[in-house]
């Protein structure tokens, strides 16, 4: 028998009961899929997304300053392309040496399709459509250039390259908020995807060192440090995020001398950071617990100081084990940014709620919320995929294979 048929039979029709269940499920799935397709193509009116695409992307960011965001996007695209190319141009044992592995071609193909289809579907002006195409071309070009000539770069250059990312972050903050000769744009005008990504990336970057320190504190031999960490972690983990955001909005002003409290958006971003740090600390702690005690003792007996032992021996092993849990926390942090809409900030969900309050779009909430769901799903699923790939790359077995075959 055909192996596919055999597989199908053992998977779906092993027993009569199984067969009946399968048939029922197939009918259900078909009905749902057909219904959804019919709705999406015939009944749904996507004009609500088309008319508000700028609002969803950047909120009320002033129109004459939006070139700064385009510039930032172009910078990010170029750096992403170069990083991607550099990662591929050095052959490794866990990968075939080709410059364009199948997954890369798949990703680029998907990107091209999205870039060609999406701006048209959103009915953007031709000028914006051209920008999208240019961005895609920039990504492909920088990816190709870095892949082609990356191997000619010297080793110190390659080592310094990751520092470009924090630099881009700083440049991005200046471009977004103004200053240094640029017209300032106050945080109350940021919104949509821009605000979501900004708060999420800010919290992810800052909660990482805090989480590691808290986890170390919780496992420390010093009672005071341990107790401070335990109390902090358990307090934060015991309270719902929304009550902490409430604390940030309503009580932080009382705790600081008058006029010192930062803007509402930064307050919320800091609350998110402090919140995520407690959860991240627990993820890191599980990683620390997995490192055998002998590692610490061996490193110390070799004469490494305590900080050296932590940074060079214990943390690399602990963080590798904690990686899936940590990325899980980052994913839920990205999802938690939607709670900012409950305290009146206009991130993606907040924009959606204001758009739905407009009577012109009454009855089309399904289109908006399903689009947002798709957007969040893609971002979170991509993070999850990246985490699994990184986990495989950092697996000790893969690493030992790649070092034994230089």
């Amino acid at each position: 028998m055909n192996p596919l048929l055999r597989r199908l039979r053992s998977d779906l029709f092993a027993t009569p009961a199984d067969g009946a269940l399968s048939l029922g499920l197939i009918a259900l799935i078909t009905a749902v899929a057909v219904g959804l397709l019919q709705w999406a193509t015939q009944r749904a009116q996507w004009a609500v997304i088309q008319a508000n695409s700028t609002l969803f992307a950047v909120g009320r960011y002033p129109g004459d300053q939006q070139w700064r965001l385009w510039l930032l996007t172009a910078l990010l695209t170029a750096v992403t392309g170069v990083t991607w190319g550099l990662l591929r141009c050095h052959p490794r044992a866990d990968r075939d040496g080709t410059l364009w592995p199948r997954n890369d071609r798949l990703v680029l193909g998907l990107l091209v399709v999205v870039v060609l289809w999406l701006p048209g579907a959103l009915q953007l002006t031709p000028a914006l459509q051209i920008r999208w195409s240019l961005l895609a071309a920039l990504l492909a070009a920088s990816r190709w250039l870095a892949g082609r000539f990356g191997s000619k770069l010297s080793r110190p250059m390659l080592r310094l390259f990751p520092l470009v990312w924090p630099l881009i972050y700083l440049i991005g903050m200046v471009l977004i908020s103004g200053g240094l000769g640029l017209m300032p744009v106050s945080p109350s005008q940021w919104g949509g995807l821009l605000l979501t990504l900004l708060t999420a990336s800010f919290a992810i970057l800052l909660c990482f060192p805090m989480g590691v320190l808290l986890a170390l504190g919780r496992r420390s031999d010093l009672p005071l440090l341990r107790w401070i960490s335990v109390i902090y972690i358990e307090f934060i983990r015991g309270a719902p995020l929304i009550t902490l955001l409430f604390l940030g909005q309503n009580i932080l002003g009382f705790l600081l001398p008058g006029g010192f409290a930062p803007d509402r958006i930064w307050r919320a971003a800091w609350v998110l950071t402090f919140f995520a740090a407690a959860y991240l600390a627990e993820a890191v702690r599980s990683g620390l617990a997995s490192v055998p005690k002998g590692q610490m003792e061996a490193a110390r007996s070799l004469g490494l100081s305590y900080p050296q032992t932590l940074v060079r021996v214990v943390l690399p092993q602990a963080l590798r084990v904690a990686l899936p849990a940590m990325v899980g926390q980052f994913i839920s942090l990205l999802q938690d940014t939607t709670l900012l809409s409950l305290i009146g900030l206009l991130e993606l969900l907040g924009v959606a709620r204001t758009v739905m309050a407009n009577p012109a779009f009454l009855g089309h909430s399904a289109e908006v919320y399903l689009t947002l769901a798709l957007l969040f799903w893609s971002c979170c699923a991509a993070l999850g995929l990246g985490s699994r790939a990184l986990e495989k790359r950092l697996d000790p077995q893969t690493l030992s294979r790649s070092s034994s075959q230089p």
Partner: protein, 335 residues
Amino acid sequence: MRDPQALLDPLDRPPWWRDRRVIPWLGQGVVALLLLVLIAFLLGNLVHNLTTRGMLLSWRWLGQPAGFDISETLVPFSAEMPYWRGLVAGLANTLRAVLTGLVGATLLGTLAGMASFSRNGLLRGLTRTYVETIRNIPLLLQLIFWYFVVFLSLPNGTAALQIPGVVLAKSGLYLAGFGQGMHWSLPQLVNGVWQAPLRLSVEFAALISGLIIYSGAFIAEVVRGGIASVPKGQWEAATSLGMGWFATLRHVVLPQALRVIVPGLNTQYISLAKNSSLAVAVGFTDLYSVAETTLNQTGRALEVYLLLLGAYLAMDLVISLLMNGLNRFVQIRER
């Protein structure tokens, strides 16, 4: 100046700033001092700011009439009752949502977790899709979707969705039950309005559907992990003894898997209890929602916040204690 010879003496203690027994304590002392200064600074500001506004900690406002109504309550409440009654009514609503959510999510999660070990590939795939879809979409977005897109677009009157004993309409979810005079009665249409012994508001129905479906996906993962932790030989041994799929799961695998499942469930239950505070987005008046209204009316931010935090911490603690008790019960006692 110290005698250079003394440095070579192994029994001589180093000066205190290089003594390994002193440094850690010194470091802790510095941290404690910094922390105390920070706390004193924050508290000082708090007291100063509150005194200038004449809002220093006071609980007298709890006895004043609330002036707002709560649309559905378990404990009787009306606008002329004091604030504390309102907060109690809100807490009762939160507990109702959490308890319903816990039961529903456990059932759904266990079923989905068991289904991911089914022989049927389609069922496995469907479970996988369910878990991966739900976990990658924010809960708040899901709740808003259920409320605004699903429940608020339901038809009313005769067009409402009807299964024997259950009616789902825009005006609420109607369930059969024991009505007046303790006799069984079904939902029925009286003058175009549904009547039933048990009515749940759409807000509550949207909240618990969202919570159950979201937490169910996480619990399914916990259950799947627990079942996967049972060695394959246990399945094979039970099957070779002639036990069926369900009997194997029920009598052999689950009792062993529970040891791994219960601690994971504890985390999920606590996060469900905390997530119930998102009820405010779908218009269900839970504790957080009452607290927010109270704050807006009285301006008592600190007191309201302390009450809110205390209530949620207490809820987490109770769940943890119960689950730890359960954990002791399911642990395999070895000699």
